[in-house]
Amino acid sequence: MVDDKRLTEAEKQEADYFARRMTQASLARPSAGAAAAPVEPPTLFDVQEMELNFGPQHPSTHGVLRLVLKVDGEKILEARPEIGYLHRGTEKLFETETYPMGIPHTDRMDYVAAATNNHAFCLTVEKLLGIEIPRRAQLIRVILDELQRLSSHLVWLGTSGIDLGAVTPFWYAFREREQILDFFEEYCGARLTLNCMRIGGLPFDLTPGWTARLLEFVDDLPSRIDEYEELLTDNRIWKNRTVDVGVISGEECIEYGLTGPILRGSGIAWDLRRAQPYECYDELDFVIPVRQNGDTYDRYIVRVQEMRQSARIIRQCLDRLEAGDIRGKVPRVIKPVAEEVYASIESPKGELGFYCVSNGSNRPYRMHCRPPSFINLQALPRLAKGHLISDLVALIGTIDIVLGEVDR
């Protein structure tokens, strides 16, 4: 019993309780028994591994990623990601709601790229239903996708710059991202969780003047991208920090199932927009940037060049845009036949796919998501091993994860 005259009765009880808990805990822990065992006297240079808890409140983990690091000084011996802090059971939620009600849930997965999430979900259900969507809707979808790719890459550019101590590109990137969000806001009223696609097409047509303003923005964009590159691409320190950091070969990428800019940075030209064209990508003219070294710098170059290509794609889509329907023939109640389908698109982060099992009712029996962030994150322990803590920050940035998508 704690005996201190300054404490009230309640405080004493509380102190007692905690004292008891502490004893129990120390008894329960296996290490408590080790105290009795003979302990070797520490030598002068007793090199110890330190366990470092990196996150989930760390500023550079891009959300709530937690990494348990084993470090020797600053060298990482082992990095173990602990995920699930943002788990919302999205895949289970899909099962409890009708097909159209699933779209807003996808917004919350990769929350910096909601449009591509919407798109992948809708594409899966459309494949299940066998619906063709009108050409205008296809073009607008591609425009929204590419805008979203731009905005996602801009967030990546800014944040990974900040991770390495370059503050200014962040503000430049967010200046353009703000404009892109304005376009989204004008189109669908939302800036982040867009909910901007529907099964069979689109919810709204474009507002007047939107395309003209977008064209202006896209024409201006290469010069803006130049500004970021001016600060980073040939910067000696930036190169020091990224070249040969986190090298991964193309074969390894495939073994890990990595997709997106990581795969293309390792010399494999795999982009679903070209490999399995959906919507109208097959008629558009664009380059898939590929680099050979598979390090952080090459992934940076790939993403920056992808932004330039996205601008090209948007311009082409705007050229082809004609008046027309924005929704295909969709039944009032969506009740697909019992079937299993998988459809995927190239999201800014890689292959984003949905695997849908339908049992003939108006809700999916099972809706599984293949989130690129989650699968790409697998490579982090492999990439981080042997690097320094400073590099870890660069590596988290280069994988470009969004924890909403990792945890779902």
Binding site: M50, L52, N53, H58, P59, S60, G73, E74, G161, I162, D163, L164, G165, A166, V167, T168, F170, W171, Y172, R175, P222, D226, E229, E230, L231, L232, T233, D234, N235, I237, W238, N240, R241, A269, W270, D271, R274, A275, V287, I288, P289, V290, R291, Q292, I301, Q305, R308, L388, I389, S390, D391, L392, V393
Partner: protein, 391 residues
Amino acid sequence: MKILTPTVLTYLKVVLLVAVVPAVVGFVVVLAERRFMGFMQDRLGPNRVGPKGTLQGLADLVKLVTKEDITPAKAEKAVHFLAPVLAVIPALTALALIPFGPSLRIAPHVSTPLYVTDVNIGLLFILAITSIGVYGIILGGWASNNKYSLLGGLRSAAQLVSYEVPMGLALVAVLLMTRSLSLVEIVQRQDRIHLWFVFPGLLAFFLYFVAGVAETNRNPFDLPEAESELVSGFNTEYSGVKFAFFFLGEYTAMIIISCVAVTVFFGGWLPPFPHVPAFAALKLIPPFVWFFAKAGFFVFCYIWFRSTFPRYRFDQLMALGWKWLLPVALINIVVVALAILATPGSTRGLFVLSWIFGALFVVMLGLAWLRRMLTRRDRLAAVPRGAEETA
């Protein structure tokens, strides 16, 4: 005016320095930093508090002072308390030696030099006392009992020790020219030989300033803080006034590095070209204004670096310090010594050296410009280099 004896004046100056410097740091430098960075980053910066945001410093001060002062439960309490004090006092002490200007008449028949004291080992004293400030950071990192702070403290220990060396060696090269450690004498000698030491000591200045930026833990050498890696490193566990002290120490150190750069390399309070008749009009501006203008430029450089450069990695920082700055500093000493020995009794060697360094500088600037243009052209090519399709 019997009251204003030299002793009283000295005390007055000390009080003024200790009272004014925190205010200047808190108001002008921090505001300038935030506004300049805002400008460089295409945003506004703080503009709400007071006219055009000028009172932002006051608001920050009020915030810092009124914040709860937290000491972690398992921290080494005494050291945790002492560390911020250790960080700020040496920095303020070093200010006492900076000659802001020659004698200034402050009342009829009373004039006083604009420095607290002129010590004949001035430069050495500044180097010595500013390195004590390092202990504040190391001890702060260690006493916090936080792994991130510890890493920050260790980083700063290694970094600051490494960069003291090239910094000292860079100054040795200048000492060969000045023949004196007294800061006042250094400025007066630049006046006498009609040459700022930055010209024959261009390389020394470069080394000094790079090492100085590293000494003050500023971008691109802000590894002990490294917000994105170590979550502010050594000062993670500090809040309130203690944090303000670290903050003050860092910014005062920054000012000292700038002031020493001005004094040793840029003629201190001297106006540009004091002996060229065409520029005689520049002498109308009081000397201390010249000093502050020059020092302000270097503080601006700090801010400029911060918004331009990414951060070095630790091993790269060490490599830069030991493999590049140190050998270059040693070579520089030899070169300067040879230039002085070649022309005994005159300063012609220094002038020749100035022209050589100047020419090299212009050539390097030209090459850098050329490289920039070439890479820019590559970037803007329609199909970027290295972007091939093999699908």
